[in-house]
Symmetry: C2
Subunit: 186 residues, 2 copies
């Protein structure tokens, strides 16, 4: 029988890497098993040996990002200060920059939403934003929290996409400072 549990092999890892690239570029719905197989240089059936469905590929891809976001939401619930939360969002976004486009692909979100075991990534974001807004926030404070979150999330994604390597320290510092300025009332 198989020493590989059909889950730890290098081929599986390559499939995930290819799927991630294609789905980031074309979205989940726009990426077919055939396309992934072509990139891998094998047949469609070859893919199905490693994953029993296309959704399982998505699950495998998003497990880590979802867990990372859950961790940030947890820290928010425990009263972590805004600078820490925003810094964590910046670092996570930069670390997962290969996933850029993923969190904003409607078909990915839709497929993800249909899988109950994957706790909703958007609901975690809402909780983090609520934490940034502080207790009993005014309407203006809520808007500032959204603004700061946008800087840490989409702003970081933009900066990371523009530079070939990872986020540099000065870039990170500048993003965090900008997010904090956005959060601060005058």
């Amino acid at each position: 029988m198989n020493t590989n549990e059909r889950g730890t092999g290098r081929t599986r890892a390559r499939i995930l890497e290819i799927a991630r690239e294609l789905m980031a570029k074309q979205g989940y719905a726009g990426t077919s098993i055939a396309h992934i197989a072509n990139q891998l240089g094998t047949s469609k059936a070859g893919i199905y040996y490693h994953f029993k469905s296309k959704e399982e590929i998505l699950d495998a891809l998003l497990t880590r990002p979802v867990l990372a976001y859950a961790d940030i939401a947890e820290r928010a619930a425990q009263g972590a200060p805004p600078a820490e939360l925003l810094g964590a969002i910046i670092d996570l976004t930069a670390e997962l920059k290969e996933f850029a486009g993923f969190h904003s692909d409607p078909s990915t979100l839709l497929a993800l939403g249909e899988r109950p075991q994957q706790s909703d990534i958007q609901s975690k974001q809402v909780r983090v934003i609520a934490a940034l807004a502080g207790p009993r926030p005014s309407q203006a404070a809520r808007v500032r929290a959204r603004a700061a979150f946008a800087v840490a999330s989409d702003g970081t994604a933009g900066v990371a996409a523009a530079s070939d390597n990872g986020l540099t320290k000065p870039e990170r510092d500048e993003l965090l400072a900008a997010a904090l300025r956005a959060l601060q009332p005058r």
Copy 2:
């Protein structure tokens, strides 16, 4: 013959409205003609009387947003100040909030990129961001420009999505102020 040039009717408008909703929710690739026809209560062929292809529906949907962004890029090229540019982005994003998810759907961008007549919306964004960064910008200034743009674009989308109606004046003012703070060096 047809007084309607097969382009001005109410049915066509309904198709576009339904397509916009579905594509915002599921992405371009994830939305089928059959799905649109179901929502409309007609057959697939009925759709094809009004549009000769799925891509033509996308073109029709995105013509206005693309033009609006081109206009902002034009004002940026003519040296409009940051407050004006950021305000314009906020207003545009709020006005087109029904399109939320659209500009971030990879399959939409991909399909749009394959249509040469639709000038690339992302390249316009890059130009606006460059204008925000100012002449001969430092690396830090470029990051701040991205941050400010993120507030005006994604921050506004988030606020608009959270509130049922359009963006209120206080919300708009708060977003613009936050974007300008993000843009400003200490």
